[in-house]
């Protein structure tokens, strides 16, 4: 208890002065009775002299006062910010000097604070016991082991930082044995990082030797707080950015890996969940290319150590590659297409851009506009004119142009090749030659393909030859056949590079494109290309060092930025040494080569802390160790609990006042106050929910966004199948339309299963059209042109499957004359503005002729000729439209005045005579109406009947 009091501290102790005010609060609470309500009351004289049966004190009850003082005290105490610090754990006293061994490799970085706190505990212990301390760290510059006073020890430990490379336990073991081996009589505390390495056993042995009784106090992290590491995933370079999270300890661990740009912006996070016993998990970031290439590092969130960071460099970034093949897409035989093999080889590490057209001029223009890093031409012959100029500019701006040979190039090359070509190809092997197919020779030192393994079965049977006599000096040969003839040549041109494969990209000339070597060669080639082309920086975009490295020169890569132990990138210290470019892939981190980015700034190579093959396992049992866990001296802040207590007491006070002391408060307030208090206690305020519920119906009503008028129209139009006619502004025409559609509805009800409701008049400018399967649109000779937004609405209706009958009601003119585009008729003007497909006269086998009745003609009141409908099309666009509208034409154009023919009066008598055919024609016009209605409602299923003659004929056989 005393210890607990001793460990109590305040962050704002002066607030405790407020406690002095408590007596004042007590006096105020005691002395102030509630103010009485004054009531005028005539029979007061009767009251006078009445004794109170319950002697209510003038003052508040003592318990209420106590409650309120408690609230005040709790608030004051909370404001003072009290903390409780548990006493230090290292409670034993020291009888002899202490050797503190600290693992300060990167593995301990993320938990460094715990180590520092524990080291402080040890310092306190040594201080109390009057002993000296030896401080030994596994990483960093080594210092002689000397006895330190606790003060010196604190200074030394404060300057100790985790290093970005693993500690050298074996080295430390040697030093301990050398310097302390003879001393003996020493206590040993090992602040371990929990990771096994090759020097552990040696250090264990050395410590056991110097420690009294061979007992080592080994302090480790609590379960579940072990180090994590991030390294290259096995499936690296396959599309998304990937990495592997490693875990040493056995307890489960889950977390997130963040993808961070060079400027420190977090672009994405990916979760990982390492179950118990699982030591690694892969994470992947599937980002768009533009974002992907901005990712400079991956880091485990919350794991601030060099091992928790995975640096990315140009090799893990993807390039945009433009791929041109003139032969078009041979979709039928993809295995013969050169682009097939190129795409397969490039997809894992590049984004491929294909031009839309085989027209080389357009294709290259498109590609250059897409700003790729690399353009690949496969089997494109001699370049000339604008294409060559465009590609030359692309290369000189820093781009890489990769070309493949082909039969066209056997006729001679052009200037955009690393070397002039001899005319005529070279065929190796086969019936007509002496030679046998050649295998590639081993790659030379300066080739970027250096160290790539060549499969034995790769052979080249045909190639184009560079003219050795004219080969310029700067031309590099990246690959040769075993007889010495160049297979891949490259040359700088301006700021960019020309690469030429003397074979085709398909297996015609060689089986190289179907070997794994081809993939690796393409990858190495792309690594030599710039990441992005920008004119402003094109001069240094592909720096000389990189180019030199790409072109095979082994230059040392100077450290540019290195990680510190906590995983922060910084300027390299003076101990950091360059790495030879040839060794960059295999280098391990060390004090001389800390993890970081090496090489010229624009073409850095990443050296990561944890690499393939690095062991990452939990520390094995240490002989003679007393294992303990770092206890973090966690301070417990009491302020929140005091505030909570004050709040609870305050609510209690409110409830007590409401229930027991209901003074002059109006009666309704009591339960309300109690309910409010209870509501606060249980964290809900019922009123607000009730309001929310009450508000909900209004919200839904307004959310639908329909005015009541529009809603009524929508209901009327959609509760029943109804036909609609467009108001023309001409009352007589509108009356005829109404009567005509009503008559058609009656005919349909009588003859078919369709029973439409009364027709509805619509104004396309105001009303919604989507409800109607069929709209009858009389186009009068004096019709006004429609505004554009109305036309757009009509257009949308037609494209979404509606059917409009445009009827010019014109006795003399046939649809043809009215439809003539550019004509001055209202119909032509209307249709000219709508986006409609080509029209055709209803063909004999059109569904309209057989959707209910079999029809040969489509008369109305007049008989001017057949209507026009959408022409059937085969192209994709029309096919899509056909799917949406079920093959139903979106419009029917007629001049036969259908509505007048259908129009009936109340006694079902026709209103207009039909000309010239009499009642036969009227019957036909009814049938036309029935067919159109059926066509609009049922779509094209009757189209099957088109095939009936063929089916019957087949059955006949």
């Amino acid at each position: 208890m005393i210890a607990a009091l001793q460990s109590l501290s305040f962050s704002a102790p002066w607030m405790l002065a407020g406690l002095a005010a408590l007596p004042l609060i007590w006096w105020l609470l005691r002395a102030t009775p509630p103010r009485p309500d004054t009531v005028s009351f005539p029979p007061t004289s009767i009251l006078i002299g009445l004794k109170h049966r319950e002697k209510t004190p003038v003052r508040s009850p003592w318990w209420l006062t106590a409650l309120r003082i408690l609230v005040a005290a709790a608030v004051i105490g909370a404001l003072a910010g009290p903390h409780i610090k548990p006493p230090a754990t290292a409670s034993a006293t020291l009888a002899q000097p202490l050797l503190v061994v600290v693992d300060n490799g990167w593995q301990s970085a993320s938990r460094w604070a715990a180590r520092r706190a524990f080291a402080e505990q040890l310092a306190v212990l040594a201080d109390e016991s009057g002993q000296t301390i030896y401080l030994a760290a596994t990483a960093g510059p080594s210092a002689p082991l000397q006895p330190l006073t606790p003060v010196e020890y604190r200074q030394r430990f404060a300057s100790l930082v985790p290093q970005p490379y693993p500690g050298d336990r074996a080295g430390l073991a040697a030093q301990v044995e050398r310097e302390l081996g003879a001393r003996g009589k020493i206590s040993v505390a090992w602040l371990a990082d929990g990771i096994e390495d090759s020097g552990t056993a040696a250090l264990n042995k050395a410590l056991a030797t110097v420690a009294t009784g061979g007992v080592i106090d080994l302090y480790g992290d609590p379960d579940g707080a072990g180090a994590l590491a991030l390294t290259r995933a096995a499936s690296a370079n396959a599309g998304p950015i990937t990495a592997k999270v490693l875990k040493a300890e056995s307890s489960p661990h889950s977390g997130q890996v963040a993808a961070v740009t060079g400027r420190g912006e977090r672009l994405s996070v990916a979760p990982f969940d390492l179950k118990s016993g699982v030591s690694s998990a892969e994470v992947a970031f599937d980002l768009p290319l533009d974002l992907r290439n901005q990712v400079a590092r991956l880091e485990i969130v919350g794991e601030a150590s060099a091992g928790g960071v995975f640096l990315l460099d140009g090799r893990s970034q993807r390039r945009r590659v433009g791929l041109v093949a003139t032969e078009g897409n041979d979709d039928a035989q993809p295995l013969l297409s050169p682009t097939y093999y190129l795409e397969r080889a490039l997809t894992p590490f590049a984004e491929i851009v294909r031009p839309r057209t085989a027209n080389l001029d357009v294709a290259t223009a498109d590609l250059v506009a897409a700003k790729p890093s690399v353009i690949i031409l496969s089997d494109v012959g001699r370049l000339s004119g604008a294409v060559r100029e465009r590609l030359r500019a692309f290369v000189e701006d820093g781009g890489m142009l990769i070309r493949f040979a082909g039969s066209r190039l056997e006729q001679g090359g052009d200037t955009l090749l690393p070397a002039p070509l001899r005319e005529g190809g070279r065929t190796l092997g086969g019936a007509m030659t002496w030679t046998s197919p050649q295998t590639p020779a081993a790659f030379e030192e300066e080739s970027p393909f250096n160290r790539l393994a060549i499969p034995k079965d790769v052979a080249v049977t045909r190639q184009v030859l560079a003219d050795p006599a004219q080969m310029p000096r700067e031309t590099k040969v990246w690959a040769r056949l075993s007889d010495g003839t160049p297979l891949v040549t490259a040359a700088r041109r301006g700021a960019g590079t020309l690469v030429f494969f003397h074979i085709t990209a398909n297996p015609d000339w060689s089986n190289l494109p179907i070997s794994g070597l081809f993939v690796e060669m393409m990858r190495k080639t792309l690594e030599a290309s710039p990441l992005q082309l920008s004119r402003a920086t094109s001069a240094e975009a592909v720096p000389g060092d990189m180019q030199a490295a790409a072109l095979g020169q082994d230059v040392p890569l100077k450290p540019w930025r290195v990680l510190d132990g906590f995983g922060k990138l910084g300027v390299p210290g003076e101990r950091a040494q360059p790495i030879a470019a040839s060794a960059a892939d295999t280098a391990r981190v060390s004090a001389a080569n800390p993890p970081g980015l090496y090489g010229p700034q624009n073409a850095v190579r990443a050296l990561n802390t944890v690499q393939d093959g690095d062991a990452f396992a939990a520390l094995k049992a240490v002989d003679g160790a007393r294992v303990a866990v770092f206890t973090e001296a966690k301070t417990i802040a009491l302020a929140p609990w005091l505030f909570l207590a004050a709040l609870c007491l305050f609510l209690l006070d409110g409830i007590a006042c409401a229930l027991f002391l209901g003074r002059s408060a109006p009666r309704w307030r009591k339960p309300a106050a109690a309910a409010l208090a209870l509501g606060l206690v249980f964290g809900l305020v019922p009123e607000s929910r009730a309001e929310a519920r009450a508000a909900a119906p209004n919200a839904t009503a307004s959310a639908s966004g329909l005015s009541s008028e529009a809603a009524a129209f929508a209901m009327a139009a959609s509760l029943e199948t109804r036909f609609a006619y467009v108001l023309t502004g001409n009352a007589e025409a509108d009356r005829v339309s109404q009567a005509g559609l009503a008559g058609l509805s009656r005919i349909l009800s009588a003859r078919t299963a369709v029973e439409p409701g009364e027709p509805i008049a619509v104004d396309p400018a105001k009303d919604e059209l989507v409800f109607f399967p069929l709209i009858y649109w009389p186009v009068m000779a004096n019709a006004e042109p429609l505004p554009d937004h109305v036309l757009a609405k009509v257009d949308a209706y037609m494209k979404q499957g509606g059917l409009i009958i445009f009827d010019t009601k014109n006795e003399e003119a046939s649809p043809e004359s009215l439809l003539a585009r550019g004509g001055r008729t209202p119909l032509a003007q209307l249709l000219g503005k709508l986006d409609i497909p080509p029209l055709q006269r209803v063909p004999d086998d059109h569904v309209l002729t057989r959707s209910f009745y079999l029809l040969q003609s489509f008369p109305g009141r007049w008989d001017n000729g057949d209507p026009w409908v959408e022409a059937r099309q085969q192209s994709g666009d029309a096919a899509r439209r056909g799917v949406k509208s079920d093959g139903v034409s979106s419009l029917i154009v007629t001049s036969n005045d259908l509505a007048s023919a259908w129009a009936m009066d109340d006694s079902d008598r026709p209103m207009f005579a039909v000309v010239p055919g009499g009642e036969d024609q009227r019957e036909m016009s009814y049938r036309v109406g029935v067919n159109i209605a059926m066509y609009a409602l049922t779509g094209n299923y009757k189209a099957d009947q088109v095939h009936v003659p063929a089916i019957l004929e087949r059955l006949g056989h």
Binding site: S40, F41, P42, P43, I46, V58, A665
Partner: protein
């Protein structure tokens, strides 16, 4: 009393309601003219039998004459400050209710031909617009209408006096005043008007009660705890007043302002009429008609 015209209207409405329920004074009573025959009822004095009429049939008939004696009814309204009290439970103050009742009674009585007056303010005369005259008299002499009427020559002998008040004065002064009035020979009817709040003490918590009339204060720590004691005291006060009234042969009534004004008016009117019937039948009346309901 700016509301007097409105109160007059209300009084007329109340009076009409009551007049439709009873039938005024056009009824049997002491007078000269024949009013009606009625069949003999057990308890009627045999001297009242009209034998000539009875002889023509097998029933006994009694001959009644119309009541023609015009009585003088004095009306007194207590407009002291205590009457101005109105609690949140009542629609009207006691004074307003008293005025309404007084005017309505005056209307009823003047319709029936009685003389209505206010002691010291309005001479009792037979007039048709007694209510209007009374309003004018009240407006003129509003200052004089406090407490109970002064005993004196103003109130004539053998007249009725109806007093509308809350009778919250000390019992002793009330008793003395009743005795003084009774000694002049007038017969009193005490309409006690109380606010429902005065009956039930509907207050809670710490309340400072103030009597505007006397300026007395009483601070209650928990008003609700006083309720039972207060009711007991009020009941005792009521009983004492009733006792004093009975001792001089007067009749006490009780009315609460949250009840309809027609209730006490009907009771009062019936009582005034019933006096005559009782006079005819027994000469004097016993009993305490009570209007209004105790809560």
């Amino acid at each position: 009393m700016a509301k007097l015209p409105a109160l007059l209207m209300e009084a007329r409405r109340v009076a009409i309601t009551v007049a439709q329920g009873t039938h005024g004074r056009r009824r049997a009573g002491p007078g000269e003219t024949f009013w009606q025959y009625r069949t003999f009822e057990a308890g009627d004095p045999s001297a009242l039998i009209d034998w000539r009429r009875s002889a023509s049939s097998s029933h006994l008939y009694v001959r009644e004459r119309e009541w023609e004696a015009a009585h003088t009814v004095w009306i007194w309204i207590d407009l002291s400050p205590s009457m101005m009290f109105r609690s949140h439970l009542a629609p009207q103050s006691k004074a307003e209710r008293a005025v309404v009742l007084a005017l309505a009674l005056a209307t009823l009585l003047s319709e029936a031909g009685e003389r209505v007056g206010i002691p010291g303010l309005m001479e009792p005369k037979t007039r048709r617009n007694a209510a209007t005259a009374m309003v004018e008299a009240i407006a003129r002499g509003i200052g004089a209408l406090g407490g109970l009427p002064e005993g004196g020559r103003r109130v004539s002998r053998h007249s009725e006096i109806v007093i509308f008040s809350d009778f919250l004065e000390p019992e002793a002064s009330l008793a003395a005043r009743f005795a003084l009035l009774a000694r002049q020979g007038s017969r009193g009817h005490l309409m006690r008007i109380l606010d429902p709040a005065e009956e039930s003490l509907p207050y809670q918590g710490r309340v400072d009660f103030v009597d505007a009339e006397s300026g007395e204060h009483y601070v209650a720590e928990r008003a609700e705890s006083l309720r039972d004691d207060y009711r007991a005291r009020l009941a005792a006060h009521k009983a004492a007043i009733a006792q004093h009234a009975h001792s001089v042969g007067w009749s006490p009534f009780l009315h609460h302002t949250d009840r309809a004004a027609t209730e006490p008016l009907l009771a009062l009117h019936m009582h005034l009429s019933g006096l005559e019937k009782a006079y005819r039948a027994t000469g004097f009346v016993k009993g305490q008609p009570q209007a209004g309901n105790d809560p």
